[in-house]
Subunit: 219 residues, 2 copies
């Protein structure tokens, strides 16, 4: 079903899901697209169009039932078995992610993510064998064998920029489907691997451009 | 000029700028929209339309002069003086960001970002007075006075989710223009502050949705 949905909508699905999880958490049972719009900064018409791709989830004037929408998301996510991921590179950012993804909230079914982080890798001998969050750090030299044994399909890449492309190359041909690239540099990999990149400096700059746009609009 | 540019284009400006910085770094002088498209995964037509908003930067069949495009970006960024930012919350993620933004490359004029991180804040007494990256950690109790004295206009928020809204409230009415929210929860602030949110779990889920879309398209 997702392949009929435009990329721009796909990009917003996780945001919608998180917003509905927060509403559910607050005990809110129903929400109008106008309220959603205020919460997440996406205009109502876009929200209604996006939701129309997900099925008959809302009624005009009534809004969206929070539980129904969350169930629709869960169905979407359940079409696949849980995917296994590893994180490569245990600097401060890697550590932050390990602690974050080890948090209890990800055990809750409603919050459950479709990707489960199960191990960490680094080249630093002093880190190997340590537990961070609730995951063990392995040496990078064992990566290929680990990926094959545990059917790893996702990788979170938090290595330094200079190491990123080399590590990315070593991931080809092993059945990896997606890389979340946080290494602050562009990587090129075979087409069967989808790369999704997050660069925090770029995010700061994007914020700056939005502020500039707003200020110039006022003049 | 930015206020006449669509939001979708604004969102891609930082990506374009980084790509051109990388090309410049590699000594590449000229690039076609087709090559750009391959590098950043945005289709050529969109790239050409986006660039048309930035002025007469390319010629059909000739492509874009790397230096000219970078200068156009610098002019865009120079319309404002350097803005000062602080980071609030020095956990692993805060530390990663402090080290990252302290890196030498940000001293290079070409790479120079319009937002300059100048101090860090936390509530943990043991951190106060420490240097992380090349910035000093201050106690959160001194935040308001610091913002006013140093004309801080941007905040990077890396506090735990439970503290985020309270800290965000304390930022209102102090001249803050933008918050980069990395606290994994939605915050609500007065309309004069632009919030740009990055949630790494959401980014992982977005990657998952893209992979799912691709797989379903093949069936």
């Amino acid at each position: 079903m997702l392949h009929t949905i435009p990329n721009a909508t796909i990009k917003r699905l996780a945001l919608y899901r998180r917003c509905f999880i927060e509403l559910y958490d607050k005990g809110i049972k129903r929400v109008q697209s106008g309220e959603l719009s205020q919460r997440i900064g996406v205009d109502s018409a876009t929200i209604r169009r996006d939701f129309s791709y997900l099925g008959e989830l809302g009624r005009q004037g009534y809004g969206y039932e929070v539980r129904t929408v969350l169930e629709a998301f869960n169905n979407l996510l359940k079409t696949e078995e849980t995917q296994h991921a590893v994180i490569i590179g245990i600097g401060n950012l890697g550590r932050a992610l390990l602690n974050y993804f080890s948090s209890d909230k990800f055990n809750d079914l409603i919050f459950k993510t479709p990707v489960d982080l199960i191990a960490a890798f680094d080249i630093k001998e002093s880190l190997v064998g340590q537990q961070i969050g609730n995951l063990e750090v392995h040496h990078l030299s064992g990566l290929k064998a680990y990926i094959e044994k545990h059917q790893i399909t996702y990788v979170i890449l938090t290595v330094p920029p200079a190491a990123a492309q080399k590590v990315a190359n070593s991931l080809e041909g092993l059945g990896i489907k997606g890389i979340l690239n946080l290494s602050s540099t562009v990587i090129n990999v075979a087409e069967d691997i989808r790369v999704h990149e997050v660069d925090l400096n770029m995010e700061l700059e994007t914020l700056f451009f939005y502020v500039l746009q707003k200020e110039q609009g006022k003049k």
